[in-house]
Symmetry: C2
Amino acid sequence: MRRRRLEPDARREQILSVAIRLFGSKPYADVSTTDVARDAGVARGLVNHYFGTKKDLYLEVVRVMLTVPEVALEQLPEGELPERADSIVSWFLDVVSRHSTSWLAATGAGGMAGDAEVNAVIAEAVDVAAAGVLRAVGMGDDPSPALRGMTRSYVGLAIWTAQEWLQRGVLTREQVHVLLSTALVAMVERAFPQAV
Amino acid sequence: MRRRRLEPDARREQILSVAIRLFGSKPYADVSTTDVARDAGVARGLVNHYFGTKKDLYLEVVRVMLTVPEVALEQLPEGELPERADSIVSWFLDVVSRHSTSWLAATGAGGMAGDAEVNAVIAEAVDVAAAGVLRAVGMGDDPSPALRGMTRSYVGLAIWTAQEWLQRGVLTREQVHVLLSTALVAMVERAFPQAV
DNA sequence: AACACTATTGGCGATGTGTCAATAACATGC
DNA sequence: GCATGTTATTGACACATCGCCAATAGTGTT
């Protein structure tokens, strides 16, 4: 029995990448720590040693999956509201289509929604996205809880629409773009003022 | 050891009601078949005998939770689009607030989304709701797949917004109503025409 | 080459699940 | 009331998965 010894960081990274692949392709319950260990060529105990419990490992996976390159969000869109809406929607669609499988797997709660900690991680990512949307439409300064809630709702719409596009395949990117930008403009003009 | 013998229908119903209560208050993984059996005053094997596997039981629970009284959907809203939107939104908010705990638990906050069969059950319920929305806005006759997809997205928005309202408590019913009806009007006028 | 450090292993105990033959309620007939 | 058949119900067995930890063995150092 030939074992190989790695630096903790390297081993941890390797196991994590295997876990990301598995949790991204199968729901939570269908992935056993034994599967992760076998695919990583490692004893099962080592998975627990590095990540604690199975749910802890899954939380790490979801965190990575939802970590989005915040690039290009720096350059705030210019112009009137419709142009800004177009920009932020394009950015969102680019990001979500590039990381489609993992990102949708995570937001769809790839296996265990309802768990408090998992929900918290997802909610955090949604909150970040919502903050980006708010900044893009020029309402990012000290938003009220209600306004943030409305924006989270819009992010929910975006997620669902992306699923109809990328997973069900019943919508084209063009249709998705029109839907999301018109909805955003309407919500900003009519609903958001109720929450300031 | 005194056992009591019930008619299969009655016993099944009793176990199911216990399961609904438990799955409605705790996530899937935190409810064991032992819990269900104990609360029902029954041997664990009997749960499997009536419902098969644990996931089968959960599917039954979700089905019941998502079964919504289709009442008052018969009386299609009259008037122009804004009035119709107001009506359908009011109806939706009434239903969802009346069955808030169980309904929100099922739609994604409380169960095990990600599993194929569970997703299918939820998708079916969303599809029914989407069909109702389409009829309410007068586009219910033979809708295209794209149009149905867009409407499912809108239902997703409604679900997320209801969560912000009922679970997070950051929105008032009035705010939710305005948000959902303006979004619906905008989508029907601008996005839906792209899908006919 | 001997040593120390620690990454890594393998097995133990606990928990949860599905299955199935054995059991005992309850209804029916005498 | 008593025997009998039907079947709802039980209890236990086999199996899988998980968390934990003492024992083991790579790997760099002296």
